[in-house]
Amino acid sequence: MSERLYPGSNQDERTTFAPYSAFDIPADLRELHGRYDVEATARRVRNFRYAEEWMMMIMGGWVATIPEVPVKTGLGKVIWETAKAADEFGKRLPELRCGRKALSQSEAGNDGFASFIQEVSAPERPDQTIEKLAGVFDVLKPHLVELYERHMRETDPISDAPTIDILEDIVRKTRRHIAWGHEVLERLCETEATQQRRRERAQHMRNALIACGGATGDLAPGQA
């Protein structure tokens, strides 16, 4: 019985060119190793999740006490996308050897950041929309974008690619949130007095953020 042959398997059908040369596939130039091992990445992901979850809850609470209807409705999508960010971070945790039930784990970088978060939530009166939004959109969300981008630059680009993939999407949406928040604040702060309120609130919150070392608690002064 003759052996069945498939196309390309005969001696005279084999290719004669060297592997890859005809297709010119570029080499993978990424390097292994990064600044964060699995444990460090897991801790940072818990920190990220903490910040996103609390922002979601804070903004949800504010909807009822913000009088401007377009701000109420605009926050609706920001709240949902912030929740999805927290959820994505949560789903990453079991993949980083944190246990099957780690989906809702979160951790403040330190007690200082936990206090900072409570300070973000402090404005409550209906006449404090500027203070509410400035804390989140002028300070906390921009800080998180910087933090996420730093993680993407410094972590192992191959081994920790799933975290980078999550962060890329979250950064893109968070930038949109910031743009929306800034547009709203520009509309609300049309007088020098209101602009001053925004500046003062933002500076106060930035100082508090620097003092605690940022969301991960490990940033040196000036890095937050």
Binding site: M56, M57, G60, A64, T65, V69, L75, S104
Partner: protein
């Protein structure tokens, strides 16, 4: 920020006029007695008059007196009838402010219950986005029917009645009670839109109804989750929902009667997790209180007295 706020703390911009909730809740507790209804609304007349001053409802009050709210609540909106356009504007406005309160309720649930399960928070966050879109949709539909935000006074009784400090009762009240009412109202609006051939209104409300069904389903699921292995808490949640459903029936305006102004959306509620027993209970709850005949007679008497008072003042 504090946990749990009163309905009086709900913030609005200067377009909105807040109406006392007493008039909105009075119907839920009235007997089927013409004199009792007339007496109750005569006592509320000064409050109602004050609430409608400067709004589109002021003209209605001037014409009908406090009875105007009985008419607008109890009669189905039918194409081609007198006052249909203005009543549709009023209903759209009522839906619009109701959606604002639903958004606020979902948002507060995120802050008020920080220890709730993560999946609950995700559901509430998604509901925030949905309700935010609903506010935007109904603002546009209000414009579509010739209205504008703030043209009618707003009662915050939806938030007041449905929000509880217990998460099990909160979802029973907001998600199953308030959002359930929304399903009933929107099914009826779709029927009206179909009758007049308004595809824009029909399609928009159709999407909103799909969202609201999901929200009611959230409520059905989370009441069970929060009260599992706790029969007493489950009973409290059911009793609270019944209380809310009674109030949200507006004395029979929302019911299973053939001529109800707002028919109960049975199929939607079934899909959203209501049991047959619960639906039967809702039918019974909503059929209590003054009958349509009683309310019509009371409205006639109130109208006549209002006219007589006006004539006397003119003389």
């Amino acid at each position: 920020m504090r946990r749990f706020i009163e309905h009086t703390e709900l913030a609005r911009d200067s377009r909105f006029i807040r109406q006392d909730t007493a008039a909105s809740t009075a119907l839920a507790n009235l007997p089927d007695d013409v004199d009792a209804v007339v007496s109750a609304f005569e006592k509320l007349a000064p409050m109602i008059e004050e609430a409608v001053r400067g709004t589109a409802a002021e003209e209605l009050f001037e014409t009908y007196g406090p009875a105007f709210s009985l008419v607008t609540l109890q009669e189905p909106i039918r194409p081609g009838e007198d006052g249909t356009d203005s009543r549709m504007r009023q209903r759209m406005h009522g839906i619009f402010v109701g959606e604002v309160q639903a958004l606020e309720g979902a948002g507060r649930s995120l802050w008020d219950f920080p220890d709730a399960p993560w999946e609950f928070k995700m559901n509430m966050a998604r509901q925030c986005w949905d309700e935010a879109r609903h506010v935007q949709i109904y603002e546009k539909l209000l414009d579509h029917v010739g209205g504008e935000p703030g043209m009618y006074p707003e009662s915050t009784f939806l938030f007041e009645c449905a929000c509880s400090d217990d998460p099990a009762l909160r979802v029973a009240g907001v998600n199953r009670g308030l959002e359930g009412l929304a399903c009933d109202v929107f099914r009826d609006v779709m029927k009206y839109a179909a009758e007049i051939g308004d595809d824009k209104m029909y399609q928009a409300v159709d999407y909103v109804l799909a969202d609201e069904l999901t929200h009611v389903r959230f409520g059905s699921d989370w009441v069970k989750e929060f009260t599992k292995d706790d029969p007493d808490r489950y009973k409290r949640a059911q009793d609270f929902r019944r209380q809310v459903d009674k109030q949200f029936s507006f004395g029979g305006a929302r019911s299973d009667n053939d001529d109800a102004a707002i028919p109960i959306a049975m199929e939607v509620r079934r899909e959203a997790g209501f049991t047959e027993e619960e639906l039967d209970d809702l039918k019974q709850l909503s059929s209590g209180g003054p009958t349509k005949q009683t309310l019509r007679e009371a409205a006639r008497i109130l109208h006549e007295r209002h006219k007589a008072k006006g004539a006397g003042a003119a003389a």
